[in-house]
């Protein structure tokens, strides 16, 4: 097959590594100023991962990734969610969000963020670069260059589109996320959470299941099953993101969702969809 890079050592010009990490102090429900995370990409990349791995207080928040010179940043990924994970102990859970967007050598990358809580926080981020050739087949197959964020909730206490899931393994009602997406998307990724603000103070773990639908009200067609675990003192759900689901969706398509849990009481989950186009 093509696109197989044969090498026995580090090939010239191909270095897969992360950026140095930066820390961002998110604003309270408003975005902070941009902070440079990469002054100039050293080589062309086929994509990258955005990784958060520590925060002082672990606040839930929404972060933007932008490209462009200082003062001229253009948002590439809007409202990337960072959930609260066991930050109770002054730590946080590592999570990684895959971005299948190629960028040219020399590109400057910056990030900014907003927290939901009123406490100031400090969050650590880095980027992992997939150098050109690493994801070449994906790029040729999909030709993705942009991201459409669906369901982010930047002005509320939650991060994403909120919906109540059914208790004791009964399905909750179907909730409309959007009456119609604005772009044709080629694939998508999902981050779901438990941004009910009041996490479950329990030593138990719980399962959650979601079903994502397309189609008009009353005629929904299931597009995707999603399975999550919840652990004590968190606002996020594991897996922390569902990577690159290769199902295309047409512009104008209505999206809806429902959920269920093993818990005996109904809980509020939320979901954000990152459409790749």
């Amino acid at each position: 097959m093509i696109n197989y890079i044969e090498y026995t050592g580090k090939p010239s010009g191909l270095t897969n590594r992360s950026s140095a990490f930066i820390t961002i102090n998110p604003g309270f429900r408003t975005k902070s100023s941009w902070q440079e995370i990469e002054a100039s990409l050293p080589y062309d990349i086929d994509g990258f991962s955005v990784i958060s791995f520590w925060s002082l207080k672990g606040s839930t928040g929404l972060y933007d990734v932008g490209i462009g010179s200082s003062g001229n940043e253009v948002v590439l990924i809007a409202n990337l969610r960072k959930e609260y994970f066991d930050a109770w102990q002054g730590n946080d859970h590592r999570r990684e969000f895959f971005v299948p967007i190629p960028l040219k050598a020399g590109t400057r990358i910056a990030m900014r963020g907003q927290g939901r809580g009123s406490d100031s926080d400090t969050c650590a981020w880095c980027l992992l670069y997939y150098s050109k050739g690493t994801l070449d087949a994906l790029q040729r197959y999909y030709g993705i260059s942009k991201c459409l964020t669906i369901g982010a909730n930047a002005g509320d206490l939650s991060c994403g589109y909120r919906f109540t899931v059914g208790a004791s393994w009964s399905w909750g009602s179907i909730h409309q996320i959007t009456s119609g997406i604005s772009k044709d998307i080629k694939a998508f990724s999902i981050i779901a959470g438990f941004s009910d603000y009041d996490y479950i103070s329990s030593t138990s773990t719980y399962e959650f299941r979601h079903e994502l639908f397309i189609g008009p009200s009353g005629s929904e067609i299931r597009l995707k099953y999603l399975y999550y675990m919840y652990g004590r003192y968190t606002e996020g759900l594991y897996p922390t993101s569902n990577y690159f689901i290769p199902i295309p969706i047409k512009a104008g398509t209505r999206l809806s969702i429902r959920g269920t849990t093993a818990r005996s009481e109904a809980e509020v989950n939320d979901i954000t969809i990152y459409g790749w186009y």
Binding site: Y4, G9, S49, I51, R94, E207, K224, Y227, M229, Y243
Partner: protein, 269 residues
């Protein structure tokens, strides 16, 4: 077009499948337990979480084939269950592994204790990763290196904050061309505070290691007793015969986690 098939199927579209397997005694693998008699469509990824009630490290195999004829397609995936607050491994693991349709899928495991222990597996199989082997990005088998007897390979501790320790060999030479890899960490001690740990993967002979991935953060939590943390699967190709090593750094070398970091390497071929 497989995305459309996936959209219409149940299994193969993220529908969760769960079973409980029981390890053998004396840290041997237990019997295979059927997870599915066969998926309706080919899938290109599996993601799993596991949990149990006993604080040991667990290693599971995923196999395909009829009962008694299982062939291992993912080997010794390491889980470490901690002391009761988090009876599952944090984010689970995702491998862009191709699973053919209509083939029986089964799991088995061993643990780090001498007694038989249960492990509850929860798998989803779907296309949620660029794992289509026709695109030459998916993998057909996961091969483990450096699993050791019960917790992975002990990594050499660094002595200076924010400075890598020495390289530790995970494989003197991998057996097949790999399309990518994933690293799983564990420890065997309680950690008195959160620790920032970054790892680096290198290839090449001893003293001539070249870094493939550097400054990669790993999670280490407060209640990190027996904790386990995984990287993502990185589509970084490594040629058969290549020696692979790991090293790590820590933000504070006085943390208890120091000298208790272990890792195993999982190659996708």
């Amino acid at each position: 077009m497989y995305p459309n098939l996936l959209a219409l199927s149940q299994e193969g579209n993220g529908y969760p499948l769960g079973v409980t397997s029981t390890s053998g005694s004396s840290s041997n693998k237990g019997s295979w337990v059927q997870l599915s008699s066969g998926l309706a469509v080919p899938t290109f990824c599996f993601r799993n979480v596991c949990w149990g009630t006993d604080e040991y490290r667990y290693f599971f195999d995923l196999g395909i084939g009829s009962a008694g004829n299982e062939v291992v397609i993912a080997q010794d995936i390491m889980y470490a269950l901690d002391h009761g607050y988090w009876n599952f491994a944090y984010d689970g693991f995702t491998f862009p592994l191709y699973i053919p349709p209509n083939v029986r899928i089964a799991v088995r495991h061993k643990d780090s204790d001498s007694s038989a222990r249960n492990l509850y597996h929860h798998f989803t199989f779907d296309g949620g990763y660029p794992g289509n082997p026709d695109m030459n990005m998916g993998i057909r088998k996961v091969i483990a290196y450096g699993v050791g007897s019960n917790r992975g390979t002990h990594l050499t501790a660094p002595t200076v904050n924010y400075t890598y320790g020495a390289w530790t060999e995970l494989s003197s030479g991998i057996s097949e061309d790999a399309k990518g890899f994933l690293v799983i960490f564990s420890s065997d001690t309680a950690i008195d505070d959160g620790a920032g740990i970054w790892f680096s993967v290198g290839i090449g002979s001893s003293g001539n290691e070249e870094e493939l991935v550097g400054w990669m953060p790993a999670t280490w939590n407060y209640y990190g007793y027996n904790t386990c943390s995984s990287s993502s699967f990185y589509f970084i190709k490594i040629k058969s015969g290549t020696r692979v090593s790991l090293r790590y750094m820590i933000h504070d070398v006085n943390k208890d986690v120091l000298n208790n970091v272990y890792a195993a390497l999982y190659l996708g071929v």
